[in-house]
């Protein structure tokens, strides 16, 4: 599934990226495959979104979150 499909409060693990340019940008910001990401907030109208990754908050547009392939992360997994 895509990062953009997550609801507020849900967590996931980053698997891969579909956009080469954004992939490099996201990776240098710490969004590495295998990292756990938590969607903390959606802006009004659901776009952009805010996530926490390696202990800080990062915002991105929905179309950018569309390029991040993730799998759901349940606590205790």
């Amino acid at each position: 599934m895509k990062l953009s499909q997550l609801k507020e409060g849900q967590s996931c693990i980053i698997e891969s990226f579909t956009d080469e340019f954004l992939k490099l940008k996201l990776m240098e910001m710490g969004c590495i495959p295998g990292e756990i990401v938590n969607v903390v907030r959606l802006a009004p109208m659901g776009d952009p979104i805010a996530i926490t990754v390696s202990n800080y908050t990062l915002s991105m547009r929905k179309e950018e979150a569309d390029t991040v392939i993730v799998k759901m992360f349940e606590a205790g997994n």
Partner: protein, 730 residues
């Protein structure tokens, strides 16, 4: 451990530097992630000893400052600190990020440092170490400052600084730029020899061994990673402009081994984060995981709320607007009266003549026209600095991005646009906070369409002539309604133009909104003060030069004229004023009107008449159009002179009375009909009649291209709207 200052000691056994009386001069680059406290550290190192310019060829702000330090050996150094734009990696993705790369990877760059200070956000160490490890691998002298140790204690982050220092092979300093902890130690280190790491943090050669060796064989690069970076960003290194044959050789090398940037950069990023994770597990302990201070999260719940978020933002905008619209009025009136007094003092105490006139009406008036903006600029930047420093500005972008994106603008365009209602000059200076170059240009281009306060005197004068003051439906003031509609017209023109320009302005880089939402902070008042000081200085010295030059030209145009007629009018005035025969002020007023008519500006007004006739304007309005290029409100003054209006207090006819009485010789009816009035107001709403704005746009876009486009675009918009409204209403 975190409250204890531990620094590794990797200095070579004995210092090579003898104690000399001479102070050694060095260059120091300051790099770090955005929000890492870089500008606070820069301010702490340099104080008010700062200079602001642009990096050559680009409109990226270059801040430099001087820091004097004494090392352990007793040697004194004078370090020129260069504040490089914040970046997350050496791979540039925006024009701002090209600067750190260009400076650090090109020894021929004029800012190439002797020492680089990397500032890391201690609460975000993993991401900070990414940039740090890249710079370490370039094998240049580097010092790492880990900032926010006070917050780290609070968050339970403990760092083994000695171990980290040994692993990175560089000196590491725990500091708190906010609380001024560790700054002196850092300064001292600048005066001491700085070691260069021998080992690679990661082995970058393995990604492209042939290319790395090939480049190192071709040109002099002192690290494998430097060669790898050159391969990745060949077009961004200035040195190759002078050595195109080397560039061609490297290009063919890259082609030969099918060097794949994206693939290799991704590989490097993964590898770095892998090693960083290992390093972190050895040397960093996070004891009490408070993911977010709770109050920061609580604030976000309110400030980005779908209702309260906008309500609060609207309140903040209202406060800013209030400040630059009404609070700034008092210091502005004060400046105005000081200059008026000073002008008349000079006028009365220096011998009469051209020089006196130039001094009073050209230079002093020009200076007044510049300094009058200072209160508004200072107030707006006080607010902007506070909003940026607290972290609120990032939240504004977050909640406004969706709405503004539709119009080719950015969440951060809102503040410049709203400030434009007071004055476009500070508003355009404030567009630096917009990272995307395209959205910044669009914002700069449309902001002057917002109705600024200089248009107000023009609107009020014309409204009072053409709009009756009796209310509609018994309660609504007609004149107020028209005034409000003019503000709305300006706003919609700005939004509409932005929407159009979205298609015409080319993006320099791909636009994205991947942005950190920093933790909330209490604003640092010294940062706020320095921001205000910097912006005022930039305006006074950079834009001020252009404004003074245009003022002098305008003075010349309206006070000199060709031919005998001008001279004879001038002579009559001279005779009257030297004889002090001011008893007949009507005659003087009349002569001054005549002089203006015969001046170059007057000639230009007449010359313009055929062009502006379709808009319903005559040559008198033409003169006012020429002179009000200095500033729109000059319209009223020029009209007063042209109609030789007297002093209201003495019971003379005002400019309004005279304009109302003016007849149109062709129709026999009044000159200022509803059609002419609306045409004139729309012209003032849209035309770019403000030299100060043009000067600032030139400064902020790095050349005359955009101000010229803006001048003609707004001129065309003004002309067409006036033409249409005049045709409809006449």
């Amino acid at each position: 451990m975190s409250d204890q200052i531990l620094t590794s000691d990797l200095r070579p056994p004995s210092s090579d530097f003898r104690q000399t009386k001479m102070t050694r001069k060095i260059k120091v680059a300051l790099v770090g992630n955005p929000n890492s406290g870089k500008s606070t550290l820069f301010n702490a190192l340099t104080g008010l000893n700062q200079k602001i310019a642009n990096f050559p060829g680009v409109t990226v702000e270059k801040k430099t400052g001087i820091c004097t330090a004494v090392g352990a050996s007793g040697e004194t150094i004078k370090a020129e600190i260069i504040d490089l734009p914040g970046t997350y990696s050496l791979y540039p993705k925006t024009p701002d990020e090209q600067i750190p790369f260009g400076v650090l990877c090109d020894p021929e760059n004029e800012s190439y440092p002797d020492i680089t200070i990397i500032i890391a956000d201690g609460t975000n160490l993993k991401r900070s170490l990414f940039l740090c490890s890249q710079i370490v691998d370039l094998k240049t002298p580097v010092i790492l400052a880990i900032n926010m140790i006070d917050l780290m204690t609070y968050k339970g982050i403990r760092v083994d600084y000695a171990g980290l220092s040994e692993k990175l092979g560089i000196r590491v300093f725990p500091i708190s730029a906010r609380k001024h902890i560790g700054i002196e130690e850092l300064k001292k280190a600048l005066a001491e020899p700085v070691t260069v790491q021998e080992k690679d943090f990661i082995d970058s050669k393995k990604f492209a061994p042939e290319v790395v060796d090939g480049i190192r064989g071709e040109i002099n690069v002192n690290s494998n990673y430097g060669a790898f970076q050159i391969a990745n960003n060949l077009n961004l290194i200035g040195w190759f402009k002078k050595n195109p044959e080397k560039k061609e050789k490297i290009k063919s090398l890259l082609a030969q081994y099918s060097f794949d940037n994206t693939q290799l950069q991704a590989g490097e990023t993964l590898e770095r984060y892998k090693v960083i994770t290992e390093v972190m597990s050895l040397h960093v302990k996070i004891e009490d995981v408070k993911k977010h201070p709770q109050w920061s999260k609580g604030l976000d719940n309110i400030l980005t709320h779908r209702v309260w978020g906008y309500v609060i933002f609207l309140a903040v905008l209202f406060l800013i607007f209030q400040a630059i619209f009404s609070w700034a009025k008092y210091p502005m009136d004060f400046i105005d009266s000081i200059f008026a007094d000073f002008g008349s003092f000079v006028h009365d105490h220096l011998p009469q003549g051209v020089l006196n006139d130039l001094l009073v009406n050209g230079i002093i008036a020009g200076l007044a026209g510049i300094i009058i903006f200072v209160p508004q600029i200072a107030l707006l930047f006080a607010f902007i600095a506070i909003l940026e420093d607290t972290g609120y500005m990032a939240r504004v972008s977050f909640i406004m991005d969706r709405i503004m994106r539709r119009y080719g603008l950015n969440g951060r365009s809102v503040i410049p646009l709203i400030s434009g209602v007071a004055c476009a000059v500070p508003a355009i200076l404030s567009t630096r906070t917009i990272q995307s170059w395209k959205q910044r240009i669009v914002t700069i281009m449309v902001t002057p369409l917002m109705s600024c306060s200089a248009r107000l005197p023009v609107y009020t004068l014309i409204i009072s002539i053409i709009i009756p003051s009796n209310p509609v439906w018994g309660i609504i003031n007609r004149q107020g309604l028209v005034l409000m509609s003019l503000y709305l017209i300006g706003f919609f023109a700005a939004i509409g133009s932005a929407f159009l320009m979205k298609w015409f302005v080319k993006a320099r880089n791909r636009d994205y909104f991947i942005m950190e939402l920093p933790l909330y902070h209490i604003p640092r008042w010294s940062n706020v003060g320095i921001t205000i000081y910097d912006k005022v200085k930039i305006f006074l010295f950079d834009a001020g030069k252009v404004i003074i030059a245009i003022s002098i030209i305008l003075w010349f145009l309206s006070s000199r004229g060709p031919g005998e007629q001008f001279n004879s009018v001038q002579n009559k005035i001279d005779v009257l004023t030297t004889e002090n025969a001011v008893s007949n002020s009507d005659e003087i007023n009349h002569l001054q009107a005549q002089r203006l008519e015969e001046s170059y500006a007057g000639k230009m007004g007449k010359w313009l008449e055929p062009v502006i006739k379709p808009l319903g304007f005559d040559w008198k309005i033409g003169i006012a159009l020429v002179t009000s290029f200095a500033a729109r409100e000059v319209f009223v003054g020029t009209m007063s002179t042209i109609y030789s209006a007297g002093n209201e207090n003495k019971g003379d006819l005002t400019v309004r009375d005279k304009m109302m009485a003016e007849k149109n010789p062709e129709t026999g009816g009044p000159r200022y009909t509803v059609a002419v009035g609306w045409s004139l107001m729309l012209f003032y709403a849209f035309a770019m009649q403000c030299m100060s704005t043009l000067a600032v746009v030139k400064r902020e876009t790095g050349g005359w291209k955009w101000p010229i486009i803006q001048f003609f675009f707004m001129g065309a918009l003004a002309y067409l709207s006036s033409l249409i409204i005049y045709d409809i209403l006449k």
